[in-house]
Amino acid sequence: MENDDSGQQAEIRHLLRQQATPKIPSDVGERIQQALRSEQDQRDTAPKRRWLLPLGAAAALALLAGVIFIPGGSEPEPQPVAADCSRPISAEGDLSAVTAQTGRTYSEADFAVQAQQLVNESSSCPSSTTTTTNAELQTGGPTSSGVTQATDCLVAVIPQQRVLAVDMATYEGQEVLVAVTAAEPPQALAVDCNRAKVMVSTPLQ
């Protein structure tokens, strides 16, 4: 009886193991990949909205003499670096006065030089259009939502920093925010907002 059972068990096991694994129908696979992409899009948006929470206090950001100041601790008085570009920002922390969208590709080798160039362009701007580049003109300049997202990202990743200039750009092939902070000496940062972390930090010469 046991032998019979054992033989039956082996026979069925063998038959089942012969069955090929069915391939997922391509339309089903694509449908699920599409659903995952939609989910990813929602996830990309959600954290940025959460970053607004620290901005709930109206005084979370202050623009002093053209320098954006992201508070959170005892900071030295911000330096008047970009007075010519200064303009009021909203209580929500609008960085539009110092945010560019140059479409520039920053490289590891020239990062400090390119960041310095960004600061130079920003500090010499007499109006809100000064930082506009060809790439920016093509896209209509930094959108208000883009600036809001940049602000949210920087508040989350580098709080307690004063920001001289921000560029929505690319660093080593990855979309980043390049931010120059008013440290001594000023620091150029490439910020990966998707991972909420600083990829690289370099002092300006």
Binding site: E11, R17, P22, I32, Q33, E39, N194
Partner: protein, 207 residues
């Protein structure tokens, strides 16, 4: 182009949690056939299987942070898929079973006798599997069709190893009976097979 082959499943899941926008899609692409096999054998209906698999993947996508790493990622994914399927089975328990498309023999090839015999045998094996009570079918799907170890199946279904062995044993015995008498197969359904076919949800850590 990212080289995903260098990253194992756990790394992909960690990367997804850390914000890698492609990691989870790759994880799904890598295991989609196996997950589909579990879904289709559990749900026994293409539409339900597709819906359940999608629901499961979205759930896994959202809950990736809760993965504790004490089991393989595939075990965790299988568990979520099984639960999604059981939820659907419970919802449509009163509805009639729709046979899988592959259960329809090709009558136009009757003259190719060997081929037909092979085809009929294959169909009958899967049909017989479909006729088993839920618990036995799930256990055999994981262990004999998917090649999971008993331990892995026990983790997916959240029951002791001995229970998996017992369900597999009873399931194979039942299948042997059904395959010896294919006519009977056509009249036996999971609801009158004389076994407890309660749809039980697997604890996947949600609670």
């Amino acid at each position: 182009m990212d080289d995903f082959s260098a990253r194992d499943d756990q790394q992909l899941l960690s990367d997804h949690v850390a914000g890698d926008t492609q990691a989870f899609s790759e994880l799904f692409r890598r295991h989609s056939d196996r997950l589909w096999a579990v879904a289709i054998r559990t749900c026994r209906d293409q539409e339900d299987a597709a819906d359940a698999l999608q629901e499961a993947m979205i759930s896994a996508f959202r809950r990736a942070e809760s993965f504790r790493g004490d089991a393989k990622v595939t075990t965790w994914l299988h568990r979520i898929v099984v639960n999604a399927c059981l939820d659907r089975l419970r919802a449509r328990k009163s509805k009639p079973t729709v046979p899988l498309p592959e259960a329809e023999p090709d009558l136009g090839t009757r003259d190719a006798r060997d081929h037909i015999d092979e085809h009929v045998t294959r169909i009958t094996v899967l049909e017989a599997l479909d006729r088993l009570p839920e618990e036995q079918r799930l256990a055999l799907t994981l262990v004999d069709l998917q090649g999971c170890s008993v331990e892995e199946a026990s983790r997916i279904l959240n029951v002791p190893d001995g229970t998996i062995k017992s369900r597999c044993f009873r399931g194979r015995s039942r299948m042997h009976e059904l395959l010896r008498n294919p006519v009977e197969t056509a009249h036996v359904t999971p609801n009158n097979a004389g076994e407890n076919d309660d749809v039980r949800e697997v604890d996947d850590g949600k609670r």
